[in-house]
């Protein structure tokens, strides 16, 4: 069952000659053929291309090459460019777009020897928390196919948990890696803003977007981050911090690590089972020697409003490029403006339209100061809350989501309710922190629950250390759904 392995398990077996990359890749392809009809994680994959990459990896290994991901099948969210492959952002507006270049992350994964196969589903342009906003139909939660897998990187989480790939890449603007990881039961890491190059990531909100891995355990997240992190001259917001060996941080020793519990996170609507699982996870960290204390993030209640102003304003500017001229689909019109309107009206889904209109509104003359500028100031206060808290603690713990996965269709008619479910994840992006979600239990109905840890900017080593120490003491991350 090579498709069920973690990266570290697979690379061990590949190194010992117990398994080839072709066998592992074929196992993933077989698994997709067997289960993806009921999950819809993959928008497309190219078996021939995947097996050719696997053969090349096997040949390289036979020639003595050693690389961190040599021969490991990785799935890619449909928002990151892979040269010569389709790229749709789960939208109709990109038509039959085919990437003319590789994203930096793609290039780094290739250099590390990965087999990059398959584009996985997402909310259109990464806007959403359920993957229901995909123009190609929703992905389904492998633990209950009547429920959402989370989003926007829903396909990335489903593919990992259903063992259709060894690990995947997602992107996180307000929780889009951590939330689906929590709701599907895998590990999801959002690196610090500036840690991973955004070159080749289709932009949603440029000051919030960050690429990161979804994996079967914390060690794999550390391996993946080590591969994709680092300076890139093609992304001016990339921070030239040296990239440490993140696996070296996984010592299992968290004695004296200070963990804060924000008192403002005891929100209405927090599911009692989610709260109990998070409390138990924090108790486990305490048992291992972490010091736990209450902290305050006084501007928490303004985070969602701040986020939905800043993110939509950025989106309205970033998505102006989809106008039917330079790429993608076009609907004809008598004038350029009519062509733009018709193209965008037909090509964008409803959530994307809603956000572009809201973003245009908050930036428009007469409203800029009242909304956009005010939100940028609120962002300062929110960020300051975290910087103050991190003077007292090393990490902040909370649930990743207020509830387990909800039913498909349950919130799709009420966007505001959907936005409110992002309460624990969005501040991390506003403040430029790093964050991780690790499996921490199941609801009575058998749905996965996630523990979120947040760290200081570039504090990934401590973040991974604590997440790994917790994982070592529990077996939640090893549970797999039964799929027919």
């Amino acid at each position: 069952m090579p498709h069920t392995l973690t990266i570290s398990q697979l690379t061990d077996k590949l190194a010992q000659g117990e398994l080839t990359s072709r066998e592992a890749t074929q196992a993933c392809l077989d698994r997709i053929a067997a289960v993806d009809g009921q999950l819809n994680a993959f928008l497309s994959h190219d078996p021939e291309d995947a097996l050719a990459q696997a053969d090349a990896a096997d040949a390289a290994r036979a020639a003595g090459e050693i690389k961190p991901l040599l021969g490991v099948p990785i799935a890619m969210k449909d928002v990151i460019a892979v040269n010569g492959h389709p790229l749709n952002c789960a939208s109709k507006i990109l038509g039959d777009f085919n990437s003319p270049y590789d994203a930096t992350v793609t290039q780094k994964l290739c250099e590390a020897g990965a087999v990059i196969f398959g584009r996985v589903n997402m909310d259109e342009f990464a806007m959403g928390s359920s993957t229901e906003n995909s123009a190609f139909g929703p992905s389904r939660n492998p633990w209950d196919t009547g429920r959402i897998p989370g989003g926007s990187s829903g396909g990335s989480a489903v593919a990992v948990v259903a063992d259709e790939c060894i690990a995947s890449i997602g992107s996180d603007t307000g929780g889009s890696i951590r939330q689906p990881a929590a709701l599907c039961g895998c590990v999801g890491l959002k690196p610090t803003y500036g840690r991973v190059s955004r070159y080749g990531l289709v932009a949603f909100a440029s000051s919030l977007d960050q690429i990161g891995p979804l994996t079967k355990d914390v060690r794999d997240a550390a391996i993946m981050l080590g591969v994709i992190a680092g300076e890139d001259q093609r992304d001016s917001t990339n921070v030239p911090e040296p990239v440490p060996d993140y696996t070296a941080a996984l010592t299992g020793d968290i004695k004296g690590l200070k963990i804060g519990l924000p008192k403002e996170y005891q929100v209405d609507g927090l599911d009692p089972e989610v709260k109990a699982a998070t409390d138990a996870a924090v108790a486990e960290l305490e048992k291992q020697g972490a010091e736990v204390k209450e902290i305050s993030l006084p501007h928490t209640e303004y985070a969602i409003a701040t986020y939905y102003i800043i993110a939509t304003a950025a989106a309205s500017a970033n998505l102006a490029r989809f106008e039917g001229v330079r790429y993608g689909a076009r609907v004809d019109g008598a004038s350029p403006e009519q062509m733009n309107r018709a193209t965008r009206g037909a090509g964008f889904g409803e959530e994307v339209k809603r956000r572009i209109i809201l973003g245009t509104y908050v930036l428009s003359s007469g409203y800029y100061d009242a909304y956009y500028l005010r939100a940028q100031k609120a962002r300062t206060l929110i960020r300051q809350d975290f910087l103050n808290a991190f003077k007292e603690v090393d990490l902040i713990a909370s649930p990743t989501t207020p509830t387990p996965a909800f039913k498909i269709g349950e919130k799709s008619g009420d966007p505001l309710q959907m936005y409110l479910s992002d309460i624990f994840t969005i501040s991390c992006n506003l403040a430029g922190l790093c964050g991780i979600s690790v499996p921490c239990g199941f609801s009575k109905e058998g749905l996965p629950l996630g523990l979120q840890l947040l760290g200081k900017p570039f504090g990934e080593p401590n973040l991974l250390r604590a997440a790994h120490a917790y994982e070592q003491a529990t077996d939640w991350h090893t549970k797999r759904p039964q799929l027919a």
Binding site: P100, G324, R344, Y367, K377, P457
Partner: protein, 92 residues
């Protein structure tokens, strides 16, 4: 849909069906009401944050390097001719 929102739709260049206009109008009204919450906040004297990570300009030598070929850059365009993008007529 409220007039101010209709103006934003026009600026955003998105054609809406009458049903979409009604539905989005009411949803956006709810969302705007929610984000009005920020008016409670005292932001006097607070500097705005555009980026969470303090950034400075990154400069490099202006040297020619490899870039996309003209053909590769244009291959996804809906309509081209003679290496140019074709759009509907702008002036009569």
């Amino acid at each position: 849909m409220r007039e101010d929102l209709q103006h934003a739709v026009k600026l955003a260049r998105i054609e809406l069906t009458p049903e979409e206009e009604a539905r989005l109008g009411s949803q956006l009204g709810d969302i705007l009401k929610y984000i009005d919450k920020l008016n409670e906040l005292d932001v006097k004297g607070v500097e705005p944050t555009a980026h969470a990570v303090p950034l400075t300009n990154v400069l490099r030598e202006d040297q020619p390097g490899k870039s996309l070929s003209h053909e590769a850059a244009m291959r996804n365009a809906p309509q081209t001719a003679n290496g140019l993008f074709i759009v509907p007529k702008i002036v009569e």
